[in-house]
Symmetry: C2
Subunit: 198 residues, 2 copies
Amino acid sequence: MSSSPLLADLVEALRCLPGVGAKTAQRMAFHVLERDRAGARRLAERLAAAVERIGNCTRCRTFSEEPLCALCASSTRERSLLCVVETPVDQLAIEQATGYRGQYFVLLGRISPLDGLGPKELGLDLLAQRLAEGEVQELIVATNPTVEGEATAHMLAQLARAAGVRASRLAHGVPLGGELEFIDRGTLAHAFGGRQVL
Amino acid sequence: MSSSPLLADLVEALRCLPGVGAKTAQRMAFHVLERDRAGARRLAERLAAAVERIGNCTRCRTFSEEPLCALCASSTRERSLLCVVETPVDQLAIEQATGYRGQYFVLLGRISPLDGLGPKELGLDLLAQRLAEGEVQELIVATNPTVEGEATAHMLAQLARAAGVRASRLAHGVPLGGELEFIDRGTLAHAFGGRQVL
């Protein structure tokens, strides 16, 4: 495609990024070579450092370069609340959107036998151990409202029940700013069934 | 934004890529850490190699890791045709779309005094020298049809005239598949003025 094999290699490698196809990869490669070699050098270093040094927190499994992530190590987060999410991105979304001050547990996936993801891969043994410690009063289940997320939520609820911990689930309903006309039936039925006193 | 400083650094560094904002950078960082560390490692290596080793061809100024790019070194490309483009991306577009078998000269920019881009920065001395060699019969001016591109084209035409070389410019007109109704006035006027016998 180009007169430079190194350039062709770079374009091919850029496609590991999500949402980046052949055309975009090409534009990115030319852009950094033409205008931002310093930025590209920095990106190369940080990518290598991140891949090399970012592992998972031993307590909550989120991304962390330390054995214990900053959030788990923090003394100001409530230890009685534990929110279970599928991925670090979900954790970040909750951190940014809500005033939640408890702790997290990151499954790094959802129950999906076809992908080989079972209780073991999701670290449910680690979670059961955590619940058995007795500090957690409420397990907030924030898996995605998909079929697999619901199956995971079901399993988490069982786990909580076995440990005598209260489990809760994020509310389903009409999203803010949404219009009833355009909301899917399942969500609307949920919102209707879960209506609250004004 | 996150519990991991290395992760925050990576997200920030990803923003050097064109079209990548804060949200996209975050999604990319999480994606490679979760699913494609091998791809990220490869990308880091190739970025570093490209930035380190890709320079410019000494003859046509396109990206090349060799002193002479593959296209300039090729014995099968016609030496009587020289196509001048603004960037390596434009060169690639012409290579992919047309059956052009001549050579190229890449300006790496366009005349733009405000950005400090003058004849010297665009390598016009190198181009004049190339024209003086006497091999080139036709200079195909393929700068973009923007104000700056047209100013550059004008300067290139003068250069060709001084060297006694014929200069040509890509045809303006209605793009294939376009509808007259939606084409801008300037293009339509050009296409009308340049109408050809059926």
